[in-house]
């Protein structure tokens, strides 16, 4: 029964993500699309870019910081310190005059998210190293890389995926707070975050936008849980 409900929730999560993506494509391609659909499309686009960058850059950096040369850890620590001192919306507002395009802003957001993911992976790796039970195997001559790939990295996948699952809320929050503070939306002025703070947006549209973001976050969390567990079991 429990396995069945797990499978159902997994299927529901996959369906939700697919539905979001399909509606997003409609929102992006249909010229007369209502603002909510456009917002879904814009947020979907931002999400794909940010998530892809975070996975491609954040995970390797975090892995290196957690187990590689010390200077990478120190460098990541300093950068995280620096970034942590300022809200993202302000940081984006500071850097906007550099003249970055919409794609440039997405890359910047992706880089920021990568640093966050890198820090989470690095912390998870340190925790995994602390609880490492493979010392006996290593003493028998197993390569440290094998231990790292088979034991520690899968152990870090769970927290990293859980962190990544929060990305829809992250972009939504940045867009809405940036717009409300008069500093401009982080990803797009037509995203869901900007939509909810616009005075002309109806309560129903705002509620639907919030619901969509929350549903996507839960779906991504469920998918992350599933694939994180599978990785850990391997």
């Amino acid at each position: 029964m429990k396995a069945l409900s797990r499978a159902a929730s997994l299927r529901l999560a996959t369906g939700l993500v697919m539905l979001w993506l399909a509606l997003g494509v409609v929102g992006l391609t249909w010229r007369e699309a209502p603002p909510l659909l456009v917002g879904l499309g814009q947020d979907g686009l931002a999400l794909v870019a940010v998530l892809a960058l975070a996975l491609m850059i954040g995970v390797p950096i975090g892995a290196l910081a957690g187990s590689g040369p010390r200077w990478i850890d120190v460098g990541l620590g300093f950068t995280t310190d620096w970034i942590a001192a300022v809200p993202v919306v302000l940081l984006l507002a500071f850097l906007r005059p550099v003249g970055v395009s919409a794609v440039g802003e997405l890359l910047l957001l992706g880089a920021l998210r990568s640093l966050e993911v890198a820090w989470v992976v690095r912390s998870a790796l340190l925790r995994a190293a602390h609880l490492d039970t493979t010392w006996a195997a290593r003493s028998l001559g197993y390569m440290p890389l094998t231990v790292f790939l088979q034991q520690r990295l899968p152990a870090a996948a769970g927290p990293a995926l859980a962190h990544l699952a929060l990305t829809p809320v992250w972009t939504f929050l940045l867009d809405s707070v940036g717009t409300a503070a008069g500093l401009g939306a982080a990803t797009s002025e037509r995203g869901l975050g900007a939509l909810v703070v616009r005075p002309e947006t109806s309560g129903a549209s705002a509620a639907a936008a919030v619901l969509a973001v929350v549903a996507l976050t839960i779906a991504l969390h469920r998918l992350g849980q599933h694939y994180g567990l599978r990785l850990a079991r391997k």
Partner: protein
């Protein structure tokens, strides 16, 4: 790993932290200032240094560059440029004479006369000539030639400084005239001699020097007949501000001073100078930045701590609700993972705190930062950003310590989970 017992302050623990804090502050200030300077480009921002480069000035302009350019414009013809040049020469005043007068001979006769005539009003301001002396180009040229032969020795920094010191000590007409004869060449010494205002004797000194400053710059207002200490302080600050804004226009940048001017003659250099001299300076509306930031900091601290506690509390509650075995280790692991996530997502946490401040209309330092950036108020923005950075660095230690305890590293060292 550090051998000292946990919590004990040792040099090896404090030094790296301090170094990281300083580096973080420097990085935040540089990026923040870039944003603030760009925001200040909008009209009505009140930022006086917009015309300067933001961080590096490869060609800082001094009095020599300015007065020679103005002299060439005046020498050319009687057009708009010449009119501007005449105004500029009069503004630069006595500080321009050591550079303009020796160059007069290099100009053709008619141009020489035009420049000498343009300097006529200056001679009257300096009280060294009568209107008849500078009534025609020929007479003006003759007057300036003689003037420079007789008085060039007075245009030396030590001579002028001594004259200003004498005036600062006691007001005598002769002493006053000595300084007025040097005109803006004495500006640096005059503003330096204003000093700090603590008692009535300082007020009298400021009153003496202030009246000469009003005369030589043709700007500002003389102090009231019996000024108070506050009046004198305000006057000193006005003159210091003028020097900060236009000081390079009246000085020669040579040697180390020219090298320093690469940074000091920039928007960042000017902001830094007034931040150090006047405790972060004043906001657009004239209110002191330090007071506003100190008022706003506790509110933001409350918001950030509240959010941290909610997140950590939620993690702990989720561990308690889970009915599997090993409650203590599960609790520890969840709190540690959430804390590491909080350290990583700290800028988002701050964004959330900003959202709370916007919704509750509670003037925290985060909202202050956003408002100042929107208005292009550089002083307020930078002050708020400095306060925010220190607050963030202080509060991030809570989740970073909790995260570090999970993998048993020393939270005080760099091996800890950050912060």
């Amino acid at each position: 790993m550090i051998g000292a017992r946990p919590g004990k302050l040792t040099f090896r623990r404090v030094f790296p932290r301090l170094l990281r804090l300083l580096l973080t502050l420097a990085a935040v200030v540089l990026v923040g200032f870039y944003g603030a300077a760009n925001a200040a480009k909008r009209p009505g921002s009140g930022w006086s240094f917009q015309q300067l480069p933001v961080f590096v000035n490869p060609t800082p302009q001094d009095v020599r560059d300015r007065c020679l350019r103005a002299m060439r414009a005046v020498a050319q013809d009687d057009g708009v440029d010449a009119a501007r040049g005449r105004v500029e020469l009069l503004r630069l005043g006595g500080a321009a004479l050591p550079h303009v007068l020796p160059k007069l001979d290099t100009l053709e006769p008619s141009a020489r006369g035009r420049v000498a005539m343009a300097l006529g009003p200056l001679a009257l301001r300096m009280r060294v000539a009568s209107p008849e002396d500078v009534a025609s180009p020929e007479r003006a040229l003759l007057f300036w030639s003689r003037f420079w032969q007789d008085r060039s020795i007075d245009f030396r920094p030590t001579t002028v400084r001594r004259a200003v010191e004498r005036l600062a000590d006691r007001a005598l007409t002769l002493r006053r005239d000595d300084v007025i004869h040097a005109d803006t060449y004495a500006l640096e010494a005059l503003i330096g001699a204003l000093g700090q205002v603590r008692e009535q004797a300082d007020v009298a000194r400021v009153a003496r020097l202030s009246s000469v400053l009003v005369h030589v710059t043709s700007r500002g207002e003389a102090l009231a007949r019996e000024p108070s200490v506050d009046d004198a302080r305000r006057a000193v600050r006005r003159w210091q501000r003028l020097w900060l804004e236009e000081g390079a226009d009246y000085s020669v940048l040579e040697g180390p001073r020219r090298v320093a001017a690469l940074v000091t003659e920039t928007q960042f250099g000017k902001w830094l100078a007034q931040a150090v001299a006047w405790r972060l300076g004043d906001a657009q509306d004239g209110s002191p930045v330090t007071e506003r930031v100190l008022d706003a900091l506790p509110k933001s601290a409350l918001h950030v701590v509240g959010l941290l506690l909610v997140a950590i509390g939620a993690a702990a509650a989720s561990a308690l609700l889970d009915r599997s075995e090993g409650l203590a280790s599960r609790l520890r692991a969840r709190v540690a993972a959430t804390s590491a996530s909080l350290v990583a997502s700290y800028p988002v946490l701050l964004t959330l705190a900003l959202a709370i401040e916007l919704l509750s209309r509670d003037d925290g330092v985060l909202e202050l930062c956003a408002v100042a950036l929107r208005r292009g108020d550089v002083n307020l923005m930078m002050g708020a950003l400095l306060g925010l950075t220190l607050l963030s660095e202080l509060l991030v230690t809570l989740p970073s310590r909790l995260a570090a305890t999970a993998h048993g590293s020393d939270p005080d060292s760099l091996d800890g989970d950050g912060g």
